[in-house]
């Protein structure tokens, strides 16, 4: 229900300038297409101004949906706002605005400001949509994104305020001022105020454990006199490590692999797979870490109706499941859980011994099935990939079972398709898109 109210609220705000014009019964002598162009631009600006709010990591906004959903919504609405604003100049021309509006640079400063804002917005959106194809690293893209975003909003704001007839109406002016303030406040909160606040009480690295040749568990303790934040097993945290030397200081998000039942620390298990994570093994006890958490909704405790669970994990995608299984172990849960855990080889299996112990203790009633794609010749377990046959063989009937999927994107997409082919209803498939 809160989710529905938020979506409805978003829609009302997106069309709020139009509602004001309707309530005040403001007519227009302009051509219809010209008027449509202006309406699209008004809504386009509102959507643009709301963008920083969506990604400000506000708990009340993230809680009903999960951060991955909010991030994807942010991306979709960013593209939509760009299309609305791109359509604005050509529709004005079609509506009688004159071709020079589109082509000429010999125009008042506020028209040029709109053009520059639109150009920046198009570049901004293209960089976001095609960042991977352009070979942009995440950190590079993020820096560009955070520099462009406020510039675009200010340029478009000034353009609309100076150019638009409708912006001469006091209630619309008030709305515009509120939107600008809210937008920039969300940006400042997210990029400046919150990081300063969190940096006052950093967590401490108390242990770094190598799990496999390229996977480490980093254990963090809260600041002196404080306790670890409350979280659900399966959620994730943002961490900025401060490790001295030439080691990079970047914020990244990792799933929490510890359970909230384990007091005094919180841990993340991290695979060395990128420029930054390849340095994770250099993290030492005594280093500090700024932590912002918890986020995400990938947790069995949020679905108390699930009694018969199937966890499908690929590689480092085991971490949320480990957190959940540790939580089940510590709360002596009698839930039935089947874990199909895919890896390349035996050496890549993280938490193997602990999984065996939990399985033997029968709390929860866990069955672990390891699936290796490139095993040694003496491997007697499942070979290949997690597929329909292996799921059916390990799980039996799908009736009444809930499926949790976490792993690399191709595996996740393939498994969801497989589950759908097997007849598992969408409502029984739970997953999280981890790349925000």
């Amino acid at each position: 229900m809160p989710g529905f109210i938020l979506i409805l609220g978003y829609f009302v705000i997106a069309v709020s300038p139009l509602l004001i014009l309707l309530i005040l019964q403001v007519g227009t002598p302009n051509e219809t297409i010209y008027e449509i162009a202006r309406s699209l631009a008004l809504s386009g600006f509102v959507i643009l101004a709301l963008q920083p709010v969506l990604v400000a990591r506000l708990k009340w906004l993230e809680r009903p949906f999960g951060m991955d959903i909010v991030s994807r919504f942010h991306k979709s609405m960013g593209i939509f706002a760009t299309l609305l604003l791109i359509s604005h100049p050509p529709l004005l021309v079609l509506g009688g605005g004159g071709l020079p509006l589109l082509l000429s640079l010999d125009q008042p400063w506020y028209i040029l400001m709109g053009k520059i804002g639109l150009l920046l917005l198009v570049i901004h959106t293209l960089l976001s949509v095609f960042s991977a194809k352009l070979g942009l690293k995440f950190e590079q893209w993020r820096r560009i994104h955070y520099i462009f975003a406020p510039l675009i909003i200010v340029f478009v704001f000034v353009h609309s305020l100076e150019t638009g007839d409708d912006l001469k109406i006091l209630p619309v002016q008030v709305l515009w001022a509120i939107l600008l303030i809210v937008s920039l406040a969300a940006y400042l909160y997210h990029k400046v105020l919150k990081p300063i606040y969190l940096a006052r009480d950093p967590y401490r690295v108390v242990d770094v454990q190598q799990e496999t040749p390229n996977v480490w568990t980093v254990k963090l303790a809260p600041p002196e006199g404080m306790t670890v934040y409350d979280y659900y097993p399966g959620q994730f945290q943002f961490i900025t490590f401060h490790r001295g030397g030439n080691l990079p200081v970047e914020e990244h998000h990792w799933t929490i692999s510890s359970s909230p039942t384990e007091k005094g620390f919180v841990s993340s298990t991290i695979k060395a797979s990128g420029d930054f994570t390849s340095t994770i093994g250099a993290t030492k006890p005594g280093d500090t870490a700024v932590v912002q958490a918890p986020f995400g909704r990938f947790s069995y405790v949020l679905h108390p109706e699930d009694k018969d669970l199937v966890f499908l994990a690929g590689g480092i995608g085991i971490t949320p499941f480990m957190s959940m299984l540790r939580h089940m172990r510590d709360t002596e849960s009698d839930l039935r859980v089947v874990l199909l855990y895919a890896n390349r080889s035996e050496a890549d299996i993280v938490f193997r011994n602990e999984l065996t112990k939990i399985e033997e203790a029968e709390r929860p009633r866990l069955k672990v099935v390891h699936v290796l794609s490139n095993p040694d010749s003496n491997w007697t377990g499942e070979r290949g990939y997690v597929d329909r046959e292996k799921i059916a063989r390990s799980v039996g009937s799908i009736e009444g079972k809930s499926f949790y999927v976490c792993g690399p994107p191709p595996m996740r997409i393939k498994l969801i398709d497989t589950l759908r082919e097997m007849g598992v209803p969408y409502e029984r498939i739970r997953t999280e898109i981890f790349s925000l």
Partner: protein
């Protein structure tokens, strides 16, 4: 699954916003009285003036 719902909700939202923009433009053009000289609405065409300057 929630991602399917997200796609659906986003699509509905986008269609609703575009339709609202078009509807409001039509209502303003054909239903509401056009501002006349001497009794202008607060939004008399400044942008028109600006645009005619650049045309």
């Amino acid at each position: 699954m929630i991602f399917r719902k997200l796609r659906m909700v986003t699509t509905i939202l986008i269609i609703a916003i575009v339709l609202s923009c078009i509807s409001v433009a039509l209502v303003r053009k054909f239903v509401f009285p056009t501002p006349s000289h001497g009794n202008e609405a607060p939004a008399q065409s400044q942008s028109r003036v600006a645009l005619s300057n650049v045309s």
